[in-house]
């Protein structure tokens, strides 16, 4: 039990970024002075630097080897566009023939990724969420990850954001950011009718948010987008996606019969769950993009 507890303590200290060695004083007394190993001679820095030509040759040789392997594989691939290729099987015909009927989406790609292959898209959204969680874990500022120098720099940044005159950036941001965000919303909402969809529209909205934040500073962003909003939107969207798709799976797979009406293909309110799923994916992607930017600049959203 005691050992487990100390392991837990170690893990907690490591996650919090504190001193990894517990009872550091005892450890320093107990450890003996390390002998200086004689790395010299062959492995000295000068010798390694002197071998630059060899390393260059080796890197080129390995690259050529890999390129050769790849090209030989490409040589064995079936011819592009051949009708008897294994990729041209009945799945594609089914998509092309009854795609509109079954999904209700005019945009085949949206019908595929959000209806036939909705589980893949769910995994992708989760991957994005995990990526932003990792960045939060590494870069977010809290009481354990804090230095006065960075705080002073942040204060300086805020001061310049408020008081410096940057007319091109500020006027450009004011004029362009709403248009970019509006275009992103259009792309998301028309995901099942025209090219685009959740991911594209989400990145466009994220780019607009980044433009606004870089022009007006993070303090102004925090009036409507805080860490709390970020967490709520991400988690709520993932849960909504999960619930919608679970509903489809349970009712569809068991032939219960409570299907979502498909509507008339071409209307904005049609194609079942694709529109809400597009909105969910778009919101997650937009939050993730802006979250990356905010965490990289200030260490806080």
């Amino acid at each position: 039990m005691g050992e487990k507890k100390s392991f837990w303590k170690h893990l907690k200290a490591w996650v919090d970024g504190e001193e990894v060695i517990l009872d550091a004083d005892k450890y320093i007394v107990s450890r003996s002075v390390k002998e200086k190993k004689n790395w010299g001679g062959r492995y000295s820095m000068e010798n390694i630097k002197g071998n630059k030509k060899l390393y260059g040759f080796l890197s080129v040789a390995i690259s050529v080897l890999f390129i050769g392997i790849m090209l030989s594989v490409v040589n064995d691939l079936p011819e592009f566009g051949n009708p008897s290729n294994p990729a041209n099987n009945e799945v594609m015909e089914r998509y092309l023939e009854s795609g509109i009927e079954e999904t209700g989406a005019i945009n085949f790609v949206a019908g595929m990724i959000l209806d036939y292959r909705a589980f893949d898209t769910f995994g992708e959204s989760n991957v994005l969420f995990l990526a932003v969680m990792c960045v939060v874990l590494l870069l977010k500022k809290d009481k354990n990850n804090y230095s006065e120098k960075e705080e002073a720099e942040n204060w300086e940044d805020d001061y310049f954001d408020e008081n410096e005159k940057r007319p091109i950036l500020k006027v450009g941001g004011k004029l362009l950011a709403p248009l970019i965000i509006l275009y992103g919303i259009y792309v998301i909402l028309n995901g099942h009718l025209s090219p685009g969809g959740g991911f594209s529209g989400g990145t466009i909205i994220g780019a607009g948010l980044i433009l606004y934040a870089s022009a007006y500073g993070q303090k102004k962003m925090q009036t409507f987008f805080t860490f709390r909003t970020f967490t709520l939107i991400c988690v709520a969207c993932l849960l909504t996606y999960c619930a919608c798709k679970s509903y489809s799976f349970f009712t569809g797979a068991n032939h219960v019969g409570y299907e979502i009406p498909k509507g008339i293909p071409g209307n904005i309110l049609s194609s079942g769950f694709i529109l809400p799923l597009n909105i969910c994916v778009g919101l997650i992607v937009a939050c993730t993009m802006y979250g990356f930017y905010a965490l990289f600049t200030k260490g806080d959203i």
Binding site: N107, V109, E153, E156, V187, P195, G196, G197, F199, S200, T203, I204, G206, A207, I210, M289, F292, Y293, F296, T297
Partner: protein, 84 residues
């Protein structure tokens, strides 16, 4: 006409890819990478996949480069900034 444009774009694409890997200056490498993404977006459009073109333009040329610049700033690479 279209084939000529495509050949020019592909030549630019290869040139950009080589330039990114050969340049010593990371700042220039990121800017050339932005150019690469823009060319790639046009090529996606010519290959009739406009949704990929939208995503490539927004992610490759927009958000990616911003993240690269921020990383360069974090590792004290950019000269002329406070961290540089």
């Amino acid at each position: 006409m279209s084939a000529g444009i495509q050949i020019i774009l592909l030549v630019f694409l290869v040139a950009c890819a080589l330039a990114v890997s050969l340049t010593k200056n990371l700042f220039i490498a990121v800017i050339v990478f932005m150019g690469y993404s823009s060319i790639m977006a046009v090529i996606w459009l010519l290959l009739e996949s406009p949704d990929l073109a939208i995503t490539e333009a927004a992610v490759g040329a927009g958000v990616d480069s911003v993240l690269f610049f921020l990383t360069l700033k974090k590792v004290h690479y950019l000269k002329g900034t406070r961290e540089g």
